[in-house]
Symmetry: D2
C-alpha cells in the first residue's frame, strides 16, 4: 500500500522502515549534490523508507561500499559543494562479474530500488538497470552543462553560471584597462548552456557555442564594428566544444584532443584557437582564460539548493509510491517526473531564443 | 507601421528615430534595474526608438528632469546595483498642478509612451496614467519582495534571496558554536517570498511569514523537538510582516510601528518580538539580526541580469509595436506580457507548495 | 627536555606523546577559530604533544566535557567559520566547586597546560589560572573587535571588516539611488576598529567611534558640505559604542541598554540615534542598518586563515618549550609572543593615524 | 614653501593650485589601482596640487593623452577593479623622439612631477626619468605578484590571494569527491608569493614555487604519504615559474614558452607539466586548472583599498613637500617612503618562514 505523504502521518512509520533504497551520485561532481542527498534522506525517513549510502557511484554497489545512511549525517551539508557520497565514472555493464556483484549487493541489502543522482551517462545506466530488471531506479538530473533532456534545468547549472559570470565580471576590468580582446573558455561538452547564460549575464560582446557555428567573417565584423564604435576591448565567451568555420564552411577552430601515456589531460583548447584566430582576423591583442574545474565547485546558489531539495523530496515520494523508472524534472516552472527512458540517449540544446537575446547585445 | 523586430532590418532605422519614449524607475531600488535600463535602451535603439531618461521616477517627469539617453550611457551598467536614473516614491496624482506639469513635459518631449520599471505602487500609477489617457505606459515589474501579481518572478528578488541566504549561512556557525536560537528578520512587506526562499535555501528550522500564522504552541514544539533530537541550536527566518498568534488566535507578535517627528524610522520589529517569544516559550538563549537595506543592494545575480534583460528587450519591442498598457512577465518559464490593469491592486502570495516543502525540513 | 622544533626530527616523537595539553575556545565566536584549532593540533602532533579537545570553553573543563583530539578531526576545517569546539562565556572563578572540578579534570587528564583561544575575557581567565597555579596557559587572541592589547591584529578582525565593507558597498547604491543618508551600525564594544577600517575601505563620508567624540555641529557641517558639493547621499558608519556630544559637550547619542525579563536583547541602538540626529540636524532623509551577528560569521579571509595558522603553530611550539603564560601576537608584521599578564585588563584603541586617514575622505 | 599638511589649512589653497603633477598607471592592471588614484587626487586637491590624468601609462605622456583630473572623477571608484586611467607596457626610452615628446608634454602642461603607480618595470622607468632629469617621479608599488623590492606588500596582492584561495576552496570539493590530485597554477612570474599565500590559506598539500626547487622524490613521497594516511585526494598549488628537478638536479618541469606569429599566447604551462609528472610518479589521476587573468580582477579587498589609500595619500604629501625620487612602502606594518633607486633592478622573494609554515601542513 502506498503510504500517505502527509508529514504528520508518515513520521510514526519512520521507526520501522517498510522499504529500503540505495542512494548514489554518479559522474562528475557539481554544486547541489549534497542538497539533493539531504532532501532524499530526510523525506525518505519521514515516509518510512530506510536509505543506504552507496559510495563512489555504481562502483560502490559492485564493491559493496554500502552503509546505512543515518538521518544525522544528512545534517549540515545543504550548502556544501561536492558529494559526501563521492562519485566515479564506472559502468557496471562492462563486465558480467560486476553486474553479478551489483545484483548480489542489492539483494543482500534488501534494496527495493535506487535513487541515482547523475548526468546523462549515469541516468542511462539507471535506465538500463531498470529495463533489465536488475534494480529499479529513479533518476535526479545533475550536471553543470545543463544538457539532460526532459528537464529545463539540472542541479549545478545555475551555480556554474554564477561562477562563470563572476569570472567574466572580473575579466572585464582587465580587458578595459588594457584594450584587449579577452577570450573566456567555459565548460559545455556538447552544448553552450553555460556560455550562452554567463555570456548574456556577463555582457559578452560575442558568444561561441556548438549550437551556432559562426564563420570567420561574422566574428571579424562583430569585433571590428565594436572597435569602430569606440569600444577598444571585447569579451568573447566560448564553450569548450564550439567550432568556427571559414567562409567556405570548413572548421578552422575546434577542441584539440590532448593525451599522454596516462590518458587525456586538458590542455590548450578551443579558447586558445579562438584567441589566435581573432588576433589574425583583427590584429588586436588577445588574452585567453580557461575557467576549468572551478566551475564545478563552490557552495550552491539558493536556486540550486531549492531545485535540489525539490528533486530530492520528489524522488523520495516517488520511491514511496513505487513509481520507478522516472526522472525528476522541472518543466515550465513546475516540478514533475518523466519516464527515465524518454530522456536518455539525447541531449537538450540551447534555446534559440536565449542565443538571439544575447545576439542583441553583441558587438 | 510596426517595424520588423529582426536585428538586421531594424538597425538602419536607428539613425532617425521614428518614435520617442521616456524611461523611469519608481519606488525602492533593487539589483537588476540597471540591467533592465540597458536592455530597454539598446533594444529600443535597434528598433529605431529614441529613449529619454526620466530622473528620480515620476517626480522627474513633473519637474522636467528629463534628457535624451545616449546609447553609450547604457554601457558598463549591467552588473551594477541601484539605478542610474535614481528613484523616488512620488505620486503625480496628488496635485492637479503636478499632473498638468507631467502632461506638458510628455508633450514637450514628444514622448509617445513611457516604460515604467517599478513595483506595485509605480505600476498602479503607470496603469492610471494610461487609463486616464495622460500618457501610455508599459510596465516592468521589480521588487525584492516578489509580490507583484501576474508574474512569477520580479527583478531583484533572486539577488535579495541570495543576500539573505548568505547571511543565514553566516549565522549558522555562530548559532552552532553558542547553542542559541538565531532569529533572522528579512524583508517582505506583505508576503513571505524572501523568508520562504532564503529560509529553505539556508536550511532554516522554522520560517514565519504573513501567509501562514503559526501559534505559540507550534513554535514551541518545533524548537523543543529539535532540541530533543540533540540539535542545540536553531535558525528561525522571519518576514518583517509575519504574525504569531496565541492558542486563542490572538496576535501576540507583529511589527510595531515606529515613528518620530521626522517620520518613520525602522526600529525594533517583529524579529525582536519573535526572539523574546521563543525565549519565553523555551527558555533557550536567542539572538536577533535584522538584515534590512543590505537586501536591496549588491550586483544582480546572473538570473536577475538575464530576467531584467529579457524584460527590457520585450518592453522595447512592445513599444515598437504600440502595445501599451502591458506589463512584461515571466509565467511558467515563458517571457510574455499581460495587461497592466489586471495586475494592479492585488499581490501575489507565496505558493503553498514552497512553504510545505520548507516545512519538511523544520525542527 | 625541550624537543627540537624542526619538522624532520619532531615527527618520530609523535608516536608516543611526551606531553598533553588541553585546547579550548572561549567567548564569542569569530571566523578563523577552526584554522587556529587545526594549526595547534597538527603542529602539536608533529612535536609529540597530545591534544585534548575541551568543549564549550572553560565550562567543558569544569563539566568534564573533554576528549582526545585525533589528528583527522583537524582536517577539512580550515575554511569553516565558527568553532568545532563550541564556546561559552563561563567564569570558573565564580564558584569554588567549579574551580575544584576544573583542577581535578586537569589532573585526571594529565594536562601539563592549556591553549586558550579567546578575547580579553578568556585571556584574563587564562592569566588568572596560570598565576594561581591552577593550570598553566598559553593564549591566542581572537575577537572581531580587534581590541586585545599587545597584538596589532586578532583572529577574526579582518574577516569582520570584509563583511562590513561588503555591506557598505551594497548600501552605497541604495543611498545613491534614493538620495538618503545611510547609517550603518557595526560591532565594536569599546573601540572603533571595524568602524574605522570598514568605513575607510567602504568610502564612508563620516565615521563615528568611541575613540573620537564628535559634536553635533561637526556632523552637521560634514553632511551639509557634502550636499553643497552636489553629493546628495551620504554613508555614515557608526561603532556600536560611539557617542555624539552637543555643543556643550553633553552626550546626546549613546547606546541604550535594552533588557527584558530574560536578559538583554540587542534592540534599537546608537545607529538609530545617529540617524534621528542627522535627520534633525540636516532635514535629510535617513535610513539605518544594524549589521549585527552577521559580522561574526562566514569563511575566514586568507589573511585570517594565515594569521590563525601562525598563532596556532606558535602556541604549539611554546607549549613544547614549556613557555607558558604567553600570548601569541603579531607586532609590526612579526609573529612573536608576549607575557599574558601584560595584555589583560586593558584594551587597544584605534590608531589615530587610521582615523586621520579616513578623515581626509569625509564629507 | 612646503604647504602645511593639515586638512583645515590646506583646503583654502585648493582654489588656485600652486603645483601641478601628472598621474599614471603602468604595466599590468590589478585591483586597488583606482583606490590609489582616488587617494592621490583627493589628497593632492586638499594640498593645493592640481593633478593631470595621463592615460595609458607612459604612452599617454608621449602621445599627449593628458587632461586635468577633476575631483569629481575620483568619486565612486574606490571599489572598482582595473584602472580608469588605463595602462600599457610602453618604454619611452626606446626612441629619442618619444623621449623628446614626453619632455615637451611635461613642459607644456607645467608638471613639476609625476606619480607613477606601477610594478618593477614602470618603477624603473620612473627612476630613470628622475635620474636623467627628464621629469621627477614618485612611485607607488602595485603588482599582484608582490615582488617589488623595498615594500612588504604591493597593491593588488591581497586581492589576488583572495581570488586564488577562493578557487582552491572550490576545487577542494571536486578533488575530494573524485579522489584526484588537483594541480592549480597561479600567477607569479619570478616569485611564489601568491602560491605560498593562497596555498597556505587554501590548505594545499604541496606548494611549488621558484624560490624552492623540489625534486621528484620529495613530491612523490609527500603525495604517497598522504595517500597512506587515508587521504585519497590532494591539492597542489604551483606558481607559474616553479621548477621541478629530478634526483640528479636536472630541471624536469618548467614553463614552456608558447608563441605564434602574432606573439606569445599563454598556453599549457608548468601546471600541466606538474600534473603529468605526479601522474607518472604516483599513478594517481590528476587534473589541472590555470587561474590566469581572473587573478587580476575583481573588487579590491578592504586591505588592498586601505593600503592603496595610504600609498596615494602619502604620494600626494611627498609631492607637496617636493620629496621626489621616493617610493611609498609598507615595512613592518609602518607606512613610509624609500628612495626609488634602491628598489629597482631587484625582486623581493618569498619569506622562507612563510614557506616553512606551509610546509608543516604538507602531505
Amino acid at each position: 500500500m502506498t503510504p500517505s505523504l502527509s508529514i504528520e502521518e508518515s513520521r510514526p512509520l519512520a521507526a520501522e522502515f517498510f522499504k529500503k533504497i540505495g542512494l548514489l551520485t554518479g559522474g562528475g561532481d557539481c554544486p547541489g549534490l549534497n542538497a539533493a542527498i539531504r532532501a532524499v534522506v530526510r523525506r525518505a525517513h519521514q515516509l518510512g523508507i530506510g536509505v543506504f549510502a552507496v559510495y563512489e557511484g555504481f562502483k560502490g554497489l559492485v564493491e559493496g561500499n554500502v552503509a546505512p545512511f543515518p538521518l544525522r549525517q544528512a545534517s549540515g551539508i545543504l550548502h556544501v559543494g561536492g558529494t559526501i557520497l563521492r562519485s566515479s565514472r564506472f559502468n557496471p555493464f562492462k563486465s558480467k562479474e560486476n553486474l553479478q556483484a551489483l545484483r548480489q549487493e542489492v539483494k543482500k541489502r534488501g534494496l527495493q530500488g535506487l535513487v541515482v543522482i547523475g548526468g546523462e551517462g549515469s541516468l542511462r545506466l539507471a535506465c538500463d538497470l531498470t529495463r533489465k530488471k536488475i534494480v529499479r531506479c529513479i533518476g535526479i538530473p545533475k550536471t553543470i552543462d545543463n544538457d539532460v533532456y526532459g528537464t529545463d534545468v539540472t542541479i549545478g547549472f545555475q551555480t556554474a553560471v554564477n561562477t562563470a559570470t563572476e569570472a567574466v565580471d572580473k575579466l572585464h576590468t582587465t580587458a578595459e584597462s588594457h584594450n584587449v580582446v579577452m577570450v573566456v573558455e567555459v565548460m559545455g561538452r556538447h552544448t553552450g548552456w553555460i556560455a550562452a547564460s554567463a555570456g548574456l549575464a556577463g555582457g559578452a560582446d560575442l558568444i561561441l557555442m556548438p549550437e551556432k557555428r559562426l564563420n570567420e567573417e561574422s566574428i571579424r565584423r562583430i569585433i571590428l564594428n565594436r572597435h569602430a564604435r569606440g569600444k577598444k576591448f571585447s569579451i568573447v565567451v566560448v564553450a569548450e566544444d564550439a567550432r568556427v568555420v571559414n567562409n567556405r564552411g570548413r572548421v578552422v577552430v575546434s577542441m584539440p584532443t590532448s593525451r599522454d601515456d596516462y590518458g587525456p589531460i586538458k590542455s590548450s583548447g578551443v579558447g586558445e584557437g579562438v584567441a589566435r584566430l581573432i588576433r589574425r582576423l583583427t590584429g588586436f591583442e588577445t588574452r585567453v582564460v580557461v575557467l576549468g574545474h572551478v566551475q564545478r565547485g563552490g557552495s550552491p546558489t539558493p536556486e540550486d539548493r531549492i531545485l535540489a531539495t525539490r528533486f530530492g523530496v520528489l524522488a523520495a515520494e516517488l520511491a514511496a509510491k513505487n513509481k520507478w523508472n522516472r526522472m525528476t524534472a522541472i518543466r515550465n516552472g513546475k516540478i514533475l517526473s518523466v519516464p527515465l527512458n524518454t530522456v536518455t540517449g539525447r541531449i537538450k540544446k540551447v534555446d534559440p531564443g536565449l542565443y538571439r537575446l544575447a545576439n542583441y547585445f553583441f558587438g
